[in-house]
């Protein structure tokens, strides 16, 4: 196969490029569906494409499992990873940091916005109980938490944030079908811009399909995905607030 530098999928030897795929074609089963599947795999850059299984799904569809050898490769050196820029501290460290550097309670307002009623994720970050042994923010002495719960309109969230004088806004979006989460999230960011409060708050979102990269694109300061613990979020918030404080101070002095 074409020799490209870099890492390739590994089946049972380096660079054999073995990749498994499965997909459904809106075509009845038969040799044409199988051949169409092979052609698609070739277009994906899978050499020696094999349809190892194909099944008719009741007349209008064919489900296909295939294997092929991926021609593409990735130069690891060129891989850039977008990371939340904050070093993770534990419960104690975060509270000490807040006391010493910020000298006041950090106010966070959180909600599952739009029609989303999946509160477990947000609760994992906010509630006393937390998640997998990592206490939620409610248990942090240096934090004051306002959890608005599920299906909260962006307006309500923005309004409460202003009332409470929030330092940080935490939004959870779990439902992602038809990209509702993208619409919801960017609407909120724009709204806060419009009301001129955007840069007064640390704006954070999270959910199973959220990556930091995506969050930044949407105009957020950070994004957190599956497996996030409250301490990670808390660490980011306090460090970000401290960073801004320093910037302001520098601004005043200069």
């Amino acid at each position: 196969m074409v020799e490209v530098e870099g890492v390739r999928p590994y089946g049972d030897r380096r660079d054999d490029g073995a990749v498994q795929v499965s997909f459904t074609l809106p075509v009845p089963d038969g040799e044409r569906a199988r051949e169409a599947a092979r052609m698609l795999m070739r277009q994906m850059g899978l050499e020696e494409p094999q349809v190892v299984f194909a099944r008719d799904l009741g007349g209008d569809f064919t489900f296909v499992v295939g294997y092929g050898r991926c021609r593409h490769a990735v130069d690891l050196a060129a891989v850039r990873v977008a990371r939340v820029n904050a070093e993770v501290m534990d419960f104690k460290a975060v509270n000490r940091f807040a006391r010493e550097r910020l000298g006041r309670k950090v106010v966070v307002v959180g909600a599952c916005t739009g029609s989303d009623a999946h509160t477990l994720g947000l609760d994992a970050i906010l509630s006393m109980k937390g998640f997998a042994g990592d206490y939620g923010l409610e248990r942090y002495p240096e934090f004051r938490v306002v959890n608005l719960g599920s299906q909260v309109p962006n307006e309500t969230l923005a309004g409460r944030a202003v009332e409470e004088g929030a330092d940080a806004i935490l939004v959870s979006q779990v439902v992602t079908m038809r990209d509702v989460h993208l619409t919801n999230l960017s609407r909120l960011a724009e709204m806060l811009e419009a009301e001129g409060v955007r840069d007064r708050v640390v704006l954070v979102c999270g959910g199973p399909r959220i990556t930091h990269e995506l969050a930044v694109e949407l105009g957020y300061d950070a994004g957190f995905g599956p497996g996030t613990g409250a301490s990670m979020v808390a660490s980011f918030i306090v460090q970000e607030l401290d960073r801004r404080r320093q910037v302001r101070r520098a601004g005043q002095e200069g």
């Binding site: 499965s22 997909f23 459904t24 099944r55 799904l57 009741g58 007349g59 209008d60 569809f61 489900f63 739009g114 029609s115 989303d116 009623a117 477990l120 719960g149 599920s150 299906q151 439902v175 992602t176 079908m177 038809r178 509702v180 199973p208 599956p226």
Partner: protein, 525 residues
């Protein structure tokens, strides 16, 4: 569903007195709530009366006519929408639909129509109610005839969902599912519909992780399923949600369009949608009366408790809730074979010996409600993007379903953690169920529980805790129990939550001929 009962549940040596006690407590709990129900009505209940009177459609702004009329009745709602409607009918000689049209065009204000002789109004209302109930009966007989001709699949019935947001796409996928072996098709609702205080109108092609429940959508799917039923030689059942702020209205739509099952829980809306407790408990009674008459199988939502609570620790809350749902259902005239009590396979997959606890739970539910077609929900909470492991979790779920003789098996999807089912995911789920259940057929009869073993002990403990909980709830009353967060770890104030404003006290001469007619159908509600 009339199969020889699985033997493993029968092996459980349950304390019969404890079971009777639990059932008695649940009956008392329901009775107290129903006394409250009988004194009230709700906007949704009254809109339901109007729908049963044949009022459907929307006005120029797209407001459903039932909502429009009920708003107009305002404070007078306590007399019953049927009173105002048939008073207008009597006065104008128009039929209900025409009256509604006139109201929409502002040509009639129900409150200002001169009042006709009460006797006459009631007579018209009762005639309309007889006609409505007759129409519902006709659809039920239609189903009985089809089932009679096409027959029922062996249990557990294989239940899958479609959720594309576009009813026409849903139809394509429902047909594919039926041809691949699905027995029951549920159309999941669009995210958030449960909080709409009206039912959308007409066929819809956009929804979020679900398709709007509208009467037109029900009809489109029913036609498609009737067609494919003939083709596959099995009666394919259709499911939707009589749940949320429009619970009884949707039950009515389901009765008119011959749906076969309705997700319908006495407390789900309260706990998971923060709907006002009084509103929900009043609405659930009427919706169940309708489902009872329509021959629906209701599906209760105890499975949901285990998504917020721990499945092992909170197992007894599911049982307690099932006893309560059972009593509310019986009081509304539902027969045991119409009561699909829900539970789920949701324990941590990393738990050593977890399968034993799941078998204990499934067998216990089966043993406690022998007459009910138990609805068994799949693992969802602990599923991750690892579709291969997810497929295995569903395999053990399917094994327990067939071993313990569950009635309705909602099939898990390998992509549960990712998206609503793809057409290919549904194939894998159906293949999983077919393979495991066919290969393990009879296992529940071949294997017995060792007396005094862990499975039996676990079931006994769960029953004991459930009975204890019911005792407490009976003492406190359900309202108080909800406020103290007895279920799903959620606290709900009887005056809080959405839709409270829709609860209205019935006047002394409250008139609802439809409810009367339905209650004529039996039950001690």
């Amino acid at each position: 569903m009339n199969e020889r009962p699985a033997a493993i549940p029968a092996d459980l040596e349950l304390d019969g007195r404890l079971v009777d006690q639990a059932r008695e407590d649940a009956r008392a709990i329901a009775r107290e709530v129903l006394d409250h129900v009988r004194e009230h009505t709700t906007t949704s209940m009254e809109r339901t009366a109007l729908r049963l009177a044949g009022i459907d459609g929307v006005d120029a702004e797209g407001t459903p006519l039932p909502n429009l009329l009920v708003e107009q009745m305002g404070a007078g709602l306590g007399y019953g929408a049927a009173y105002w409607l048939f008073n207008a009918v009597a006065a104008t000689g128009l039929d209900p639909m025409a009256v509604a049209g006139a109201v929409a065009e502002g040509r009639i204000d129900l409150a200002r129509v001169p009042s006709a002789p009460p006797g006459r109004v009631r007579e018209l209302g009762r005639a309309a109610a007889r006609a409505a109930v007759a129409a519902v009966d006709a659809r039920r007989q239609e189903r009985d005839a089809l089932v009679g001709r096409l027959g029922n699949p062996p249990s557990p019935w294989l239940y899958v969902i479609v959720a594309t947001g576009n009813i026409y796409e849903d139809v394509v996928q429902a047909r594919s599912a039926a041809r691949m072996g699905a027995d029951v098709i549920a159309v999941i609702r669009s995210t958030g519909q449960s909080l709409l205080d009206y039912v959308p109108y007409g066929p819809t092609v956009e929804g979020y992780a679900g398709t709007y429940a509208t009467q037109a959508n029900f009809r489109v799917m029913r036609e498609a399923l009737d067609g494919v039923s003939q083709e596959v030689g099995r009666y394919i059942r259709q499911v939707n949600y009589a749940s949320g702020l429009c619970m009884p209205e949707i039950a009515t739509m389901g009765a008119i369009e011959r749906l076969d099952m309705m997700l319908n829980d006495a407390m789900y809306g309260i706990l998971f949608r923060d709907i006002n407790p009084r509103r929900t408990l009043i609405d659930q009674y009427l919706s169940r009366r309708i489902s009872a008459r329509a021959g629906h199988i209701i599906n209760t939502g105890e499975d949901n408790y285990l998504t917020t609570d721990d499945a092992y620790e909170a197992a007894h809350t599911v049982i307690a809730s099932q006893f309560i749902n059972e009593q509310f259902a019986l009081s509304a005239g539902l027969k045991p074979e119409q009561i699909g009590l829900g539970h789920a396979f949701q324990m941590d997959p990393e738990m050593t010996g977890g399968l034993l606890a799941e078998i204990a739970q499934a067998a216990l539910v089966r043993a406690l409600f022998p007459g009910c077609p138990i609805k068994f929900m799949p693992p969802t909470k602990y599923k991750t993007g690892n579709i291969f492991r997810a497929h295995l979790q569903d395999a053990l779920f399917n094994l327990v379903g067939v071993m313990t003789g569950q009635g309705i098996q909602l099939l898990g999807m390998p992509t549960e953690a990712l998206h609503t089912p793809f057409v290919g995911d549904r194939y894998l789920a159906l293949e999983n169920a077919r393979y495991v259940m066919n290969n393990a057929r009879g296992l529940g009869q071949e294997l017995a529980l060792r007396p005094g073993g862990r499975i039996g002990r676990r079931a006994g403990e769960v029953l004991e805790r459930a009975a204890g909980l019911l005792g407490e709830i009976r003492y406190l009353g359900l309202w108080e129990a909800l406020e103290q967060g007895f279920f799903a770890g959620v606290r709900r104030d009887r005056e809080g939550g959405k839709g409270r404003e829709g609860v209205v006290l019935r006047e002394a001469d409250y008139f609802n001929p439809f409810l009367e007619a339905l209650e004529g159908g039996g039950g001690d509600g």
